[in-house]
Amino acid sequence: MEKEIIVLGIESTAHTFGCGIASSKNKILTNVKSVYKPQRGGIHPREASQHHQKVAPFIVKRALDNVGMDIREIDAVAVALGPGLGPCLRVGATVARAISVHYNKPLIPVNHCVAHIEIGRAITGLVDPLVVYVSGGNTIISAFAGGRYRVFGETLDIALGNCLDTFARETGIAPPYIVEGYHVVDYWAERGKEIIDLPYVVKGQDVSYSGLLTAALRLYSEDPKKLPDICLSFREHAYNMIVEVAERALAHTGKRELLLTGGVAASPVLREKLKIMCADHNATFRSVPLEYAGDNGAMIAWTGLLTYLNGVVIPVEKSFIKQRWRLDEVDIPWRKQ
């Protein structure tokens, strides 16, 4: 029997500090996280990093307690070195380096976007999907080709989640961002009747959300009573744009599966639209369950395990954080062409 390999993974790229443990035998053993929730406004990188510093030791300890292990029993420690917010990344990197040095464990660099895709594949069972990754910080359409996850489309400016959240915040309907399980924009949109024309910006396989956000906010400032209609129009434009470019990428790449992940995967409306689109192309649609769609440590542990099994480790003195580490810069040796 092969020896079981255990990897502990740490995520701290944005508002979540997470710690997960993955095993070469049983995939995910535990997934613990604490999410920084700003009282008002968006994520302030310094305040988020202070949150991470405060919770880090407890989150790591709880993960180990959950599986009844001592930290000496793990084989390696993985950390998301990017992309993300500098101050936040530094907390996770510092914790991981400390574990690596103090307990003499190999350190494994993990790209946060790759991790979202790999945990999605592991959990949904999809083999070679087109990936739609939509969150507060990312809007990427990607598929595997030639040893890497290539980017077939992305936002030219702000991310879908950021667009939705900023709109909600500026109009005063958030926080809280989630009402009765729905994003607050989806919640208000259900009460809208008429779709008003807003900028619908698809450039080839890319989208642009900043014009849509500005126009929707202007509409609101002109007539706040129209909020339900504005929310409906805003989200229809925003979602239809991403579904359209996903459809283009599906046709272009000829993939037979579609994986939806990232925090915005929580939206039932977006899921439904993608499902309908996939049915049109006889493609299998799967959405990553919320626990693993949002940022989490388990995805770092799992991807760290795949990385480690392929012999990739990083010396501590070279383990710099990479705030702008692109998805398509990372070699994926565990996938065959």
Binding site: G146, L156, E236
Partner: protein, 219 residues
Amino acid sequence: MAETMKLLSKGAEAHLYLGEFLGYRAVFKRRIRKPYRDSKFDRKIRIKRTLNEARLLNAAAMAGINVPALFDINLNTTTIVLEFIDGILLKDYIMNAGTENSLRILYEVGLIVGRLHRSGIIHGDLTTSNMILSSSSGRIYLIDFGLGEKSWELENRGVDLHLLLRALESTHYDIAEMGFKEVLRGYSDVMGINEALKVRSKIDEIRSRGRYVVKRIRH
């Protein structure tokens, strides 16, 4: 009408049928309803794209760029009828042609994009899936102008070429860098070195606005 014709292909937004129009072999490109969109919203977009494509195809033809001739347009069925171009997609050509031939063809693509921009036309979806290498003439034909626009602005030209760069990086990753150099060389031979340099730095700027780029340019 279209139902009796031979289905050529199902693209992301349109179905292509092969038929006849006044004795010519013709492609009927029908933009189909997208069930994930609200029906009014859907119709608005389909009509806008159909009209847009017809206008730009005409403008490109007048500018002497190789595009299929526009035979007819029907807004009720959001269908345009086009001359049939026999050939292969440039995407498939490049995948099998070897580096040298691919680079030569990409130089020609650069010439074509240059002519397009010189005529005030932005294609809006420059990928190698939207170019056909004619088997009879060996020339490259541009198709799929639905996302295009008329513009003389550097910004729009930059976005147009940036799309092509992205398409090369995702689909022809092994020759992307060299290939795009060839595109710009062709572009420069039409537009002049000054315009080409301007658009090159514009592309860098557009890239730097993206979410994750290695270096940001300071302005």
